[in-house]
Amino acid sequence: MKSFLSTFIATLVINSDLYAAEAGMPQLDPKYWASQAFWLIVVFAVLYISISKFYLPKIKNNLDNRENKIKEDVDYANKFKEQSESKIKEYEVIIEKAKKEVAKIILQSKNNLDKDIQSKKESLEKEIEKEISKAHSEISEMKKNSISSIQNLSENITSTIIQSISGDKLNESSIKATVEDVTRKNVSRYL
């Protein structure tokens, strides 16, 4: 411990001796002032001339180039944007037109279809009516026919029944008259 302390103190003393030897500011020694001023002026002049003549214009050029390029690109982009916007507008107009046309066509075809359906329906109805009236007339004819055939049948049946009951043959014309009479009275119930 003692030896450590003594060496420590010794080093401090030696160091302070060193500091003492170096004391004073070399900056205030005028011996090389002229030299420093001279070389400063020379070096700085060379530096200034080469910077201002060569390097700054180059760097400025580079920066300007970049700025111009960016501006150009932005201009291009804006142009394209405008173009695309006008194209979009055109498309919108076209689509609008097409929509209108489509609506027109739809309306027209609907009308046509309606007319067509109407006319077809009418003709069909007419035909159906025709058929119905034909059928009606046929039916009424058949009914009329059936009445006369029924009369005949009933005359025959009546004469046969009378003959088998009484054994006599009755006058055909009187039977016919009676049947006709009955028929006339009752035929309205069936027709």
Partner: protein, 239 residues
């Protein structure tokens, strides 16, 4: 303080009895300038729309200084852009090169910063007189000051104007010297306290190195922006 001593390299050059020998200070000026030129050469070599890293850094420096000038001195200061750009780059790279171990910090010498500050001061004064003639003297007479105070204010303005080169040069020189001295002192503590106690000053040294790099950038920025402000006073006389 050995790191600040200037010594001759090569033969002694004497012109008209004045010693203009090439020294280590001169060598580091040349090194800084060469590094700047190399950096700018690489940064402007390729003309790419999408820049590579070094081109990007060079362009960032360009736009940084351009913005600084247009913000503080307006559009009239455009012709002085190359000078301020060179000044900023030179001070910055001298400071940064000085941060390397065993190197020499050019800007830690009062004579160097004083020459630069004096040049700026004289140039700005000449520009002011060329642009405004004798009206430039109105910079010493601020408007809106009561008549009683006017003589006093004018004297103060003159003194502050004349002390510009001193403050500009001493600010840079003192900052650089103080930082390097502090690093040296802490480095000395590391050595003298040895392996047992040296860790604390060593960690301080590391932190201070980071701080010094910040200061190196900051002082270059301050130097350049004060130049812009002085230029602004000369170009746009609005007091």
């Amino acid at each position: 303080m050995q790191q600040f001593t200037v010594h001759r390299i090569g033969p002694e050059i004497k012109i008209a009895g004045i010693d203009l020998s090439f020294t280590n200070a001169s060598m580091f000026m040349v090194i800084s300038a060469s590094v700047i030129l190399l950096f700018l050469f690489l940064g402007s070599k390729e003309k790419k729309i999408i820049p590579n890293k070094i081109q990007l850094i060079a362009e960032i420096f360009y736009s940084f200084v351009a913005k600084m000038i247009s913000d503080t001195a307006g559009s009239k200061a455009k012709p002085y852009f190359p000078f301020i750009f060179s000044l900023f780059m030179f001070v910055l790279f001298c400071n940064m090169v000085g941060m390397l171990p065993y190197s020499f910090t050019v800007t830690s010498h009062i004579i160097v910063t004083l020459i630069m500050a004096l040049f700026i001061f004289i140039a700005v004064t000449i520009i002011g007189f060329i642009k405004h003639g004798f009206k430039y003297l109105s910079i010493f007479v601020p408007s809106g000051v009561p008549a009683v105070l006017l003589p006093l204010i004018t004297i103060i303005e003159i003194i502050s104007y004349l002390s510009r080169p001193v403050s500009l040069s001493v600010r840079l020189f003192a900052n650089m010297m103080a930082g390097h001295t502090m690093l040296k002192v802490f480095g000395g503590f590391v050595v003298s306290l040895g392996i047992l106690g040296g860790w604390l000053p060593l960690s301080f040294s590391v932190a201070l190195t980071g701080l010094e790099i910040l200061v190196a950038f900051l002082q270059a920025y301050v130097f350049a922006i004060l130049t812009c402000i002085y230029l602004n006073d000369a170009l746009n006389l609005h007091h």
